[in-house]
């Protein structure tokens, strides 16, 4: 049962375990917006200040647009924040030269903390899946660091995974009895409540709207309630009959108003003039009836249903005429995009000219970083193409742009227009399109797609010596990058994809290459930015992302994260081999006493090149306890500048030597130093075990400290270093209240009473963060 009363627990600020992020999801029309409004109202009654915004498809690519909607109303607080407030004002005004992600997150954290310090704060976001990615990232980071602040986050979404939440509320259509009871509670007579409940089909928002439309006498039950419209056709009739009651002239004006997306009264008035209609005064009746609202120079439909109903009051040809009349008003150069979209609304069929105009709008969106808008606009451009030549050319450009933007799933949809890259339908298409399709196919499946005319694409060996156009060059360089990275030739791989890579999808291969180069920190940072790959876990690239991520987590000493690695049934064999290797290494790291010979898959590599050669030597050396083979592996890894492989091979050689009773301390220290330089902490325990005399007791690990959460452990370590709570908050990007909160939990869990006691406790057996 999805009752806003469910947020009651979240409003209880005295309860430290209260849910702080509540996400309501359900199918369209289930009443999510109504739920959010009711929940926000409840928060207001509890003294919360409510900041509201809603995701809109049209604003999805406006970076930080939703965050601006939430925070700009708190202008005074932003001003008081000094430089942090300025950071936010600059990015909200789009006047910043560049956007510093960390700076925005810290400034948002400060702003939320300051606003909530004055009064409990409730952030309410409708349709969060339509909120721009940047806003979601910033809010996620800031909310994670204000756990003890009086901040409540409420959001609605069509899917349960749209935003991390402590409490997820599934909203299904309400039973009639509940809607009826809800209306009765609002003072509606039982009979009228029954009629509205039945007609709303389970949507409380619709039921309330229908009840609001009744007369006072009908609500009181003293006048009969006519049959209310059932949903579907009857509701459509009901909505349109209300509009038609305003008169034909008003209806015609409303069609133009509904077609004018921005609601600019000047544009609507001019279009009416072009259509030979009277001026804007005919909309007064609609305003009086509450169908539209006019504020300043803008017109809006408060009820989106009414807008749909108004748009369809006239036949399709007249709607097209309305769009054409609106398009004619956008004559300035900077109004080109508005004109194009109205021309799309005015089009009655394919048009190469319109398709090419749409492609220009799409290219501009891509330039602004609006990846999703660009992809959808390109898709429309391809749909409108009249001739095969224009379609192929547009598709080729669109695929390149969409792949460069990192939207692989959308690129696959575009590719399906010509039967998909895997369907063997490439022959007969222009080479550039074939290369773009092959590129999509290979990123999606991991299987090489044959492209004819190899001299121009497949075997293009060097920059500047490649035939074909940009797609052929892109395909060739991406193939070179993957091949080189798999072989351990990190310099060639990085040279192929760029340093850093321009395309988000290339961040995965760049991370692989950096890892082989011993730069695990940079590799992890690159992977953290590879959200384009993380979003497609069902595709080959996304699976690679998972394996590389697990490998890097393992090297950093986070074995538990790596152990969670799973691959779907259809994953490529090479990827499975790599995943098995990661899991075997995780087992060797988790248990320093485990004989490496028992885990031969730890060095499994069925690729080609020096990396596979080194791993093959290690595998054989470990299996046969042959230090000569391991020495060869070290020599080869050093020569190929594979420092992690070299460090690990030294560790295995020392392991073999130790079984023979030899002193291996220098060798282990050298291995450990090599690995540490590369940011590898996963073998620390094994190195320590080799260095420690056999009978010595293992390092004492305090079970109470092991019981701390990662966040608590970070706070405990910072405080044990001697930092004040404020300094710890600054260092860890947390609010001071959150540090206070964590510290209370830490004191309780460790049964210590002072910072000194905590420091002593932390130096006598605490595990290290990131190495638990």
């Amino acid at each position: 049962m999805a009752d806003p009363a469910d947020v009651g627990a979240a409003l209880d600020l005295s309860d430290p375990t209260r849910p702080r992020r509540v996400l309501c999801h359900g199918p369209r029309g289930a009443g999510k917006t109504w739920w959010l409004a009711a929940a926000a109202k409840q928060a207001e009654h509890h003294g919360f200040t409510v900041a509201r915004t809603a995701g809109r498809a049209s604003d999805r690519d406006l970076p930080l647009g939703a965050l601006a909607g939430l925070l700009l109303p708190f202008g005074a607080e932003l001003d008081r924040l000094g430089s942090h407030g300025e950071v936010l004002r600059r990015v909200f005004a789009f006047t910043a030269d560049s956007t510093d992600a960390v700076g925005v997150k810290v400034a948002t954290l400060k702003a939320l903390s300051a606003i909530a310090d004055r009064a409990p704060l409730c952030l309410a976001i409708d349709d969060i899946e339509l909120v721009d990615t940047s806003s979601r990232e910033v809010l996620d980071a800031a909310l994670a660091r204000t756990t003890a602040d009086p901040i409540l986050f409420l959001a609605t979404s069509a899917s349960p995974g749209a935003f991390p939440a402590d409490s997820v509320v599934r909203l299904d259509p309400l039973p009639l009895s509940e809607i009826r009871a809800m209306l009765v509670e609002r003072g509606i007579a039982a009979g009228a409540s029954e009629r509205c409940a039945v007609a709303s089909a389970g949507n409380p928002g619709v039921a309330v709207a229908m009840a609001d439309g009744l007369s006072d006498a009908q609500r009181a039950g003293t006048a009969p309630v006519p049959d209310l419209p059932r949903l579907g056709g009857e509701l459509a009739d009901e909505l349109q009959s209300r509009l038609r009651a305003l008169g034909e002239t008003s209806c015609r004006a409303l069609v133009v108003a509904a077609a004018a997306d921005g609601g600019d009264l000047g544009a609507i008035g001019a279009a009416l003039g072009r259509l030979g209609e009277p001026g804007l005064e005919v909309l007064e009746a609609a305003e009086e009836a509450g169908v539209v609202e006019i504020v300043g120079t803008r017109l809006a439909f408060p009820d989106p249903w009414m807008r749909h109903a108004a748009y369809h009051l006239l036949a399709p040809a007249s709607r097209r005429a309305a769009h054409r009349a609106l398009a004619a008003g956008f004559t300035e150069a900077h109004e080109a995009a508005s004109r194009v979209w109205h021309l799309v609304g005015a089009a009655s069929g394919p048009s190469d000219s319109l398709a090419e105009s749409l492609a220009l709008v799409a290219a501009d969106a891509a330039r602004r970083g609006a990846v999703s808008t660009s992809a959808h606009t390109y898709e429309r451009a391809v749909e409108f193409a009249a001739s095969p030549a224009v379609r192929d050319s547009l598709l080729s450009t669109a695929l390149r742009s969409v792949i460069d933007g990192g939207d692989l799933a959308h690129a696959l949809r575009l590719a399906d227009i010509v039967g998909g890259p895997i369907a063997g339908t490439l022959s007969g298409l222009p080479l550039e399109l074939q290369c773009a399709l092959a590129d999509v196919g290979e990123l999606a499946t991991g299987r090489t797609v044959a492209v004819p005319n190899p001299t121009r694409a497949d075997s293009a060996p060097k920059e500047g010596d490649e035939g074909g156009g940009p797609n052929a060059r892109r395909l060739a360089s991406r193939r070179r990058g993957w091949t080189a990275a798999a072989a351990g030739d990190h310099r060639r791989a990085i040279a192929a994809v760029g340093d850093p890579p321009a395309a988000p999808l290339d961040l995965v291969v760049w991370a692989v290459a950096s890892r082989h180069a011993g730069r695990t920190r940079e590799a992890r940072e690159a992977l953290a930015r590879a959200d384009a790959a993380a979003r497609v876990p069902w595709l080959h690239l996304g699976q690679w992302y998972g394996v590389v991520d697990a490998d890097l987590e393992l090297l950093a000493g986070r074995q538990a994260d790596a152990s969670a690695l799973t691959l779907p049934v259809g994953a490529a064999p090479a990827l499975r081999t790599q995943a098995s290797s990661v899991l075997a290494r995780a087992r060797l790291m988790a248990d320093p006493s485990l004989d490496p010979a028992a885990e031969p898959t730890a060095w499994a590599d069925d690729g080609e090149g020096v990396l596979a050669e080194v791993r093959g030597l290690v595998r054989a050396g470990v299996a046969m306890a042959d230090t000569d083979l391991l020495e060869q592996a070290i020599s080869l890894a050093d020569k190929a500048r594979l420092p992690i492989e070299a460090g690990e091979a030294r560790l295995w050689r020392a392991t073999v030597e130790a079984t023979r009773g030899n002193d291996v301390s220098d060798a282990v220290r050298l291995a450990h130093a090599t690995l540490q330089r590369c940011g590898v902490r996963g073998w620390d325990a094994r190195c320590a075990a080799l260095l420690a005399p056999a009978p010595s007791a293992p390092r004492l690990v305090d079970p109470a400290i092991t019981g701390l959460s990662q966040s608590e452990l970070r706070v405990a370590e910072a405080v044990a270093e001697g930092l004040t709570n404020r300094e710890a908050a600054a260092k860890l990007y947390l609010s001071v209240k959150t540090v206070d909160f964590h510290l209370q939990q830490i004191y309780r869990k460790l049964a210590v009473r002072s910072r000194t006691e905590l420091a002593v406790r932390m130096t006598t057996g605490a595990p290290t963060v990131g190495n638990r």
Binding site: T99, A141, G233, L275, A317, S318, A321
Partner: protein, 60 residues
């Protein structure tokens, strides 16, 4: 129930097929059916500009 919204949209679409059509004669007017040369040039020069970076790294 889950597709009731689409049902309303479908119904509105169907009803519009037989709705009044006062501007049908203006629908396919070729005048102003394309971008102006200045607008094409404007979009072209925008598309030729270097790209703007997205909100990037998450290094906290």
């Amino acid at each position: 129930m889950s597709d009731w919204w689409q049902e309303v949209e479908r119904a509105l679409q169907e009803r519009s097929e037989g709705a009044p059509d006062p501007w049908a004669h203006l629908a396919d007017d070729p005048e102003g059916a394309e971008l102006t040369a200045e607008q094409k040039a404007f979009l072209q020069q925008l598309a030729d500009q270097p790209g703007i970076g997205r909100l990037g790294g998450d290094d906290d």
